[in-house]
Each structure stands twice: as C-alpha cells, then as structure tokens.
Amino acid sequence: MKKTTSLFYLLGLICGKGYILEKSISINFPHHKKIVEGIAHCPKCGFLATKTINSTETTLKCKNSSCDNSRGGIDPNIKKKYYQRELFSKSINENVIPFLKSNLEFDYSLLASNAVTILTLKNLNIDTLRFIKEFFDNKTSFDRFEINQNLNSEVNELKIEFVNGLLDSCSYPSAGGWLNRDGQNGHARMRSYFQIVRNWKLPIQIDNFLRDNFNIPTAKFDWGHPNIRDSNLQDYLNQNKTSFAREHQVGFFPEYFKQFKYRVSPKIELFKELLDHNLKVNFLNDDDWLKTKKKITTGKIKPNHPMEFDYRIPKEVRGHFDAEWQINLALGCKYLKEIQRKSKNPEVFRISGELDEEDLSKVKSYYKEISENKFTNINLDKKKKKKSIKSLEKKISEQQTYKPLCDWLKNYIEENLGEDSQVFDTSAQTLNNYLRTNLDNFSIIEEKIKNLEDFEIRPDVVGISSTTNKIFFIESKIVSLGIKEVGQLWAYSVVANPETSFLISTKEISSSLLNIISNNKSFLNFAEDKKIQIGMLKKNGNVDIYNGE
C-alpha cells in the first residue's frame, strides 16, 4: 500500500466530514449560506470596516477612531461576494478530484444542493479502502472519527496533506470571526474555524496534533455544551432548549497555517483575505488559548443549566463546566494535563483553575454554591420571546404552495410528455372524489385509478396527462425534507403507482436525506424504475429537482 499525498489528503477530508460505507466513501461539503462575504477595509486608511451588529445602518464604520469614516459612510459593496454552491462544485471538480486522481483510482459522483455538496467515491482499490477503514478504526462516520496516532510518525508532507483535507472539509475562514485586538498597523485579528459536528474527541485531537507536529497554537474553543453556548440560559428560557447542541469550533489564526493549502473555493479566497489582513496588521502575541490564565473567578462561574445532563452530551462531559478549557481537560488535552500535574491538587485545578490551592472541599462547595445561586436568580418563568410578527408574515403556508405547484406541474408535463394536462389541488378531498367531480372524461381514467376508490390517497397536487392519462403526484411541504417526509409520500406512491411522484418543499433538503439518496440509490424507489423526485420550490415558481436523471 503506497502512502501518497492524495491518500492522506483524502484521509483528512474523510476525518472532517466523511462517511465510510461498505464499498464507497462520501464527503460532505456544507455551505449553508448562498453567499459569503469577504473583509471590508476602509478606502481611506485601510483599517477594518464593520457594521454594528443588529444596527439599521446601511454603511460601514472604519475601526480607526481617527479616520473620517469612523462614524460610517463606507459602502458595504466593497466586500467581495462569493457564491458558494457554484464555487464549491467548480473547485471540487477542478482542484480536489484531479489531486485525488493523481495517485488514486476511483469513480465519483457529485450531488449538490444550496446547502451542501456531496462527493461520493466508488470503486476505490480494495487495499486503499481497507487502509482507510483501518486508519479510522472501522468507524463509519465523521462524528466518530479520530486522528490515528500512527499519523504522528508519517513524513511531514503526508501530515500536511491530512491537515489540508481537514481544512477543506471542516474549516471555515470567516471575515466575521475576528478577535478584538490591536496590532502594529491596525485592528482586529482574523480567525478561521474548524467546525466539528457531534464529534467530541476530534477538536482536542486537532489541537494537540497541530502542536505536536507543527508547533502551531490554536486560538479558541467553543463547545456545543449548554454551559458554553447558552451560559446565561437565554435560549433555554426562549424555549430553544437544545440550541447548545450545535457544532464545536476550534478557532485558529491564518498566519500559522501558511504551510497548508485549501483546494476548495471560496475557502481559498477567504483564507487569503484573512491571512493578508493579519500579516498587514501584524500582531506580536500568539494569543494561544493554552497560555491564558486558567483561574475561574467568581464572575466567570456559570449558573447551572437544566440541560447539562442532556443525552446529546457524552458521559465524560455531562455535567457542569465554567470554562471551555475545563471541557478540553475532561476530553484529554495532554498539554492541559501537564499543567494540571504541576498543580498542588489536580481536582482543585479541574474545578477552579487554581494551581496553588489545596483544599478541595472548600473549592468544591464554593463553586457549587455560586452556580446554584446564579441559577436561582434567573427567573425561569420569564416571558417567552415574542414571535416577531414580521417573521410570521414572511412564512409561507403549505396551502399557498399549491397554486404555483399546479402551474409548475402543468408545464412539467407539457415539457416532458408533450401533452396538455389537467392539474388539480386535491388537498381538500380524496383524489378519487375530486377526479370524479372535476374531470370531464373520468371514465377514461377510471380504470387506471379504480384501485384507489376508497383509499383516501391525498397527495396535495395531482396531474393527469390528457393523451396518455399518466398520473403525477406532488406532496408539498414547508419544512426541510427528511426521511419522514419521504416515507409519507412513498406509501401513497407504492399504492397508486403514479408516473412520477414529487416531494417538493420551500426549504432545502436535509443533508441527511441528501446523504441517503446519494449512497442508497433505491431509497426513493416506489416501483421498478420509478423513484420519488425531491425538489425545492423557488420564489419564482420554478422547482429545482435534486435527484433528476
């Protein structure tokens, strides 16, 4: 088994956002926002220009207080705009695939939605696939993958490619994630982030791997833990109890990552913007999280959170934490353990960050009491956040989708069958009753649908082509399409066997469903050679089909 840069780049991609299936590998490249923007610099002095969060201002302010633009006036359009879906697909085709192909043989397919692009590799060499599976200890998904210890003994170029793969799959350079710092020639230190979904081991392993092998610090940890993400219980009180359970983040400064390389756009361009900014501003400290003071002062003790023992949190970190670094320690950060070993009482250090204090029971009861008091002082009956009237107005009801879907289906039938059609919104009654009442030539299609006589089959929209009498179903949703929604239409389609069955939403398809349909070709099948078509209704009335042939 030849160890090549392509192989180790692939390992990094898989580690960040991959699935290993029996005979294939899938890598997700999420890009939730349609457009991301670059950094704005003041045209007069070159300092960072920003907009105050939640303000109604239409222009940007320069961060240089002595600049004329510090009160605003900078056009936000000076920021570069990157259209993610197009750039991801293009760069995966032009950069990622050729690099992987330079040393690996495989077939591949790309499936993209506005929120994610999924690359599936098939027919990989058996030894390669076996090596990959063993590297990840036969685990199958990115939320369980760990960095294999053997990677530490590989040559540098392979380690670099592994990090490159991680950067492309799970890191996100962002112009908004800067640290509030002054440098020699300006302000704000840009950070990029590894975003790690549901995998509690990988964040610390990435940090320790970078320190061990490249002597690179990371800047910041942000854990999907209730004490960290919702430390003041605001989301909890606003009935958003599980908002904490989002991805973990490991922030890093681009200037330490110059030896690595992105292959996916717009990460390439954004990273360069961030790097150029930091190099120009020039920061003298490394701002390494590991070197910050660990002592948790009274003000930093967090109130208890009712979700601290939620099932989404692994056992090692179920419970109360006052600081990010405490979670790092609990999850095995070896550098923190070294610091802990130097403390007079390791348990006291774990709770308080104190190196010299020895009295565990005193520290324990003090921290416990403060957390409890802070929790007691929060009014749990506080009124629930009022739903914004505007947001309710914006919401489209399912009923409102029927008319545009009827129009679309009529066009679809004409374009694909060359036939006129009768298309009905049947949501109010059964297909059979509706057709009997509304169709002039019901007797012609009666035979075709006779089995449906009493079955109360209720897709939202039904179309029947005028010449060949083919039936088309649309089930309309206003939620992100997932496995459940497919199931509901699937049973109707199995029974009625329409020519085509569409499941269409105003929202994006869920990435889990996209993964399933890219790896399990028969999942959407309801009859031989017929599968449910998944689509998204656009504001202009068009429908984008994700899995169209």
């Binding site: 199958t140 989404r312 109707y492 869920s510």
Partner: protein
Amino acid sequence: MVNNELETKIVEWSKRFIKKLNDYELIEIIDKKNLSKFNSEILKKFSEYSNWDFTHDFTLLLKKKKIDKKNKDKEYELILINRENKSIGLRSIGEIMSYNRICDPMYSFLVSDKGHSNEISYFMINETFRDKLIKFNNKSLIIFSFEEGSSKVKDNSIIPPNLKGLLND
C-alpha cells in the same frame, strides 16, 4: 419519557418479547430520540447510523449473547417500534418503512390501539400490495394492537397474519 397508556403497554410488552428471543439480551430502550444524535457507543457501531436522522417512538437495542463469526452474526441488533394513537394509515406505514429501509432492524412494529384504518384494509388483505408496503430486506413490518386494559397482543390484529406465532405470549 413514556407518556400514555399505549406507550406503557409497549414497554411492558417489549421486555416480554425480548425475553422470548433466547439469543438476545436487551441493552437499552431508547424512546423518542433522534438516533443520529444519540450518544451511545453501541449505536455508533452500526454503519451509517449517522444518517439515521429521525425520531421515532422506541428503539430497542439488543446484544447477541453468543456470536458465531462463521455465520457472520451481528453482535448488536435493533428493533424499531412506532405507535399511533389513531388508526394506522398509509402515511404511518410509509414513515416507519423509510426508517426500516435505512436501519434494517431485526424486527419492526407499528402499534395502535385502534388497529389499521379502513383506507388500508384492502392493501392488508391483498398480498401483492401488502408485500410492497411492509416488506424490507426479506423481513416484514408487523402491525398489531393490544387488548383493552392489558399489554397482551390482540390475536386478530396482527398483520401479516402468518407472523402471529412470533407474537404469541
């Protein structure tokens, strides 16, 4: 959390059902959790578990007591159970069948105190339709109801009827 009488019956019945499966022991009953997000090292041993992005009523996690590697025995198995407080229709069958086709559980049950609805009676007696609707990977979804006031399975509620023997108490 078990929050109604039907769910209490399901939990009671499940424990009895597993006891009858001599080769398996019950590890855990997971109720109403999104399986792809549930932190269980055992669940994570199933390939593709991370795509199980759905929440249904009960997942029974089983361990095989003795593994025969020659037969490629699986160490862990799943049983999926969904319940309906109303009568069972095409939508609820379609929903659990989607989960079955992804998870390939050892058994899958759809339980209602009200049995199946009129709309699906025809499909339940027409074997061709029934097979299309409830078969997955050479296995079958099993639909049944409990007797009133007990967690005993109503004998004449079991679909498909040829699997009645499996559910006999």
